[in-house]
């Protein structure tokens, strides 16, 4: 199954990507850096900790992983053949 987004035209997401971004709640200090750099709006703060809202529009740029000062974000590529794709990159 392939999903599209009204906000980000020209991009498709192939289902089955799984939880390729994970947050270690123990390590998270609630700084919200991940929210600031994520253009897809994948994150939210709940109880002073970052939480993944949805990865449905994630373009796998890894900005959240780069910017986390506590190394609380674990990022790895989604399973082969899943996740975002575009003809226009």
């Amino acid at each position: 199954m392939v999903k599209t987004s009204k906000k980000f035209p020209g991009v498709e997401w192939i289902e089955g990507a799984g939880d390729f971004i994970k947050i270690d709640k123990e390590k998270c200090n609630g700084c919200a850096n991940c929210i600031n750099v994520c253009l897809a709006g994948c994150f939210e703060i709940v109880d002073k900790k970052a939480k993944i809202k949805t990865l449905e529009e994630c373009m796998e740029c890894a900005s959240c992983w780069y910017i986390c000062p506590e190394d609380a974000i674990k990022f790895f590529w989604p399973s082969g053949g899943t996740g975002y794709k575009s003809e226009w990159g």
Partner: protein, 555 residues
């Protein structure tokens, strides 16, 4: 897939497929593993591949028919001193003048996907096996050596040598203990928009030049100066690529990029007079983004990261080879892929994939004149100092030296240093380059590329064109004879040429102001005749038999 490969390439981007193709060419059993469903699905860039990538890159790209969106005849810099008041300064000194432009182009704009697919197809034709939809998650490690890869399905695939072309994040290189995560100051997030625009409108409004936008930070019309690539617009065949990018952390602070990118985009599209011209003619087709390692070459510690370990070589972005000046990683990906394949072939032959043996690769990269230049250029980085002092003169100077004619004073020496060994190795190289430019342009005019629509060799019905074809081929022969003679004189010239190539940058720094004024005066004086010659040249390339631009074995 169970058997052992000589070479396993991770990633079918710009570097990976080149390494695979060249390894397979040499008869090595080669495989490529790509995580996306189709090659190029996940590659994003606003992309001009500059000429030096084609001239000094892999032979099969230079002599082939890869897909292009549009030749680029250089850069037009828009400097927003005060965008509200329309105080905009233009530096277009790096534009290639006619009659050369747009045939002898500064570079070629292309979508990443068709180009990467073209390269992958070449690798497959050479015998490499391509496995898409396969994410490599780990390595097989034995006795301090990487001996293969593990896929996301848990399959273990053994390979004598891994060429890692996974991209800038370097998740696997980090796993292998070769380097750490790059700091957010060195990473730029590129927010990219793709717009449809009718070809005749692109031809009329853009021609062949790309637009770079620079402006004081407080205008919020573009990302902060010197903390990222900036803002640029590329003309494609019948579309535009718009990219704004900046570092993830600026002056110890993490900006709200979601808000800022929307703000830059809003301001530029509503206040830049040039964009107002575009607005009624374009339609948004796609928006996407990706990170790249913009300033790794300028960071002393990161710059020293090893590029090889026992059983593995890193190429392209994962090795931190993105250009700090032009922000184009493709030429370095190609150069490093070639160098990696060369060392890989030797290593397999010698049955030695130790890091000591593979060090040869790193030595080649560290001494490569163009890579050295491209990952150490400071003009872009220095723009932050122009902002700090808010000095327009300094801003103009860095822009002129980075993306204007001033770039000659940093590029000329490395260009000559790589040019001379090329001429020495293959005296027919100049004619190959000329044919490349003509063939690329003809392909662009007729929208013909390998695997898409190849041009049919056909004798022209026009006697005039046939005469010109004969003349063209005669000139190519004359050039080849001349270059062979030059090669014979090499020993006599060597004492002069090498110091000359080393000192030209320094010389040009002093001489450029005089040179530039003569150059511009000459351009103005010769404008009508150059335009006429340019049109004649385009007409010839349009109508000539494609076979005359093909590369035969010319010894």
């Amino acid at each position: 897939m169970e058997e052992e490969y000589d070479i396993i390439v991770i990633g079918a981007g710009f570097g990976g497929s080149v390494a695979a193709k060249l390894s397979a060419d040499a008869g090595l059993k080669t495989s490529i593993f790509e995580r996306s469903k189709n090659v190029g699905d996940k590659v994003i860039s606003g992309l001009t591949i500059p000429f030096y990538g084609f001239l000094f890159g892999p032979y099969f790209i230079r002599d082939g028919n890869p897909p292009f969106e549009r030749p680029s005849d250089g850069v037009e810099n828009y400097i927003f001193n005060d965008l509200e008041k329309g105080d905009i300064i233009i530096d277009d000194s790096l534009k290639v003048p006619k009659p050369l432009s747009p045939i002898i182009a500064f570079g070629y704009n292309t979508y990443c996907k068709p180009f990467c697919q073209w390269q992958a197809q070449k690798a497959i034709e050479a015998g490499a096996e391509l496995y898409t939809s396969t994410t490599i998650t780990d390595f097989i490690k034995e006795d301090g050596y990487i001996k293969g890869v593990v896929t996301d399905e848990g399959k273990e695939i053994r390979g004598k040598l891994i060429i890692n072309a996974e991209g800038s994040q370097g998740l696997l290189a980090i796993k292998a203990g070769m380097r750490e995560k790059y700091p957010p100051e060195a990473i730029s997030l590129a927010d990219t928009y793709d717009y449809i625009m009718p070809k005749e409108e692109v031809d009329k409004i853009f021609g062949f030049s790309e637009k770079f936008c620079w402006g004081w930070d407080e205008q919020k019309a573009a990302p902060p100066l010197g903390h990222g690539n900036g803002l640029m617009v590329w003309p494609y065949r019948n579309s535009l690529h718009f990219m704004q990018d900046q570092c993830l952390r600026v002056n110890q602070k993490v900006p709200n990029l979601k808000k800022l990118f929307d703000l830059y985009h809003h301001n530029i599209t509503s206040k830049w007079p040039f964009w107002k011209q575009l607005a009624p003619r374009i339609k948004l087709r796609a928006r996407m983004w990706e990170n790249f390692e913009i300033y790794v070459g300028l960071n002393k510690k990161l710059h020293k990261n090893p590029m090889e370990t026992n059983g593995m070589i890193l190429i392209g972005d994962v090795a931190g080879l993105e250009s700090t000046e032009l922000c184009d990683g493709v030429p370095a990906a190609w150069f490093s892929a070639e160098a990696a394949a060369e060392v890989a072939i030797d290593a397999i032959k010698a049955d030695d994939v130790s890091k000591e043996f593979l060090k040869k690769y790193e030595t080649t990269i560290r001494n490569h004149p163009i890579i050295k230049w491209s990952i150490s250029g400071r003009n872009r980085y220095n723009l932050r100092f122009a902002q700090e002092e808010h000095d327009l003169k300094i801003l103009k100077k860095y822009i002129h030296n980075g993306w204007g004619l001033g770039a000659l004073s940093s590029f000329t020496s490395p260009f000559l240093q790589i040019l001379l060994p090329y001429l020495n190795k293959d005296p027919t190289i100049i004619s190959k380059w000329i044919k490349m430019y003509f063939r690329y342009f003809q392909n662009w005019l007729h929208k013909s590329y390998d695997f898409y629509q190849k041009r049919v060799n056909k004798i022209s019905s026009s006697k005039k064109i046939r005469n010109k074809e004969r003349k063209f081929l005669r000139w190519m022969r004359v050039i080849n004879v001349g270059m062979r003679a030059f090669r014979k004189m090499k020993k006599i010239l060597k004492p002069f040429m090498i110091p000359l190539s080393h000192s030209l940058n320094t010389f040009l720094k002093g001489f450029l102001p005089i040179f530039e004024s003569i150059y511009f005066a000459l351009l103005k004086l010769t404008q009508p005749i150059r335009a006429k010659m340019g049109n004649k040249l385009i007409d010839f390339v349009d109508k000539a038999n494609p076979s005359i631009f093909e590369i035969q074995n010319e010894g």
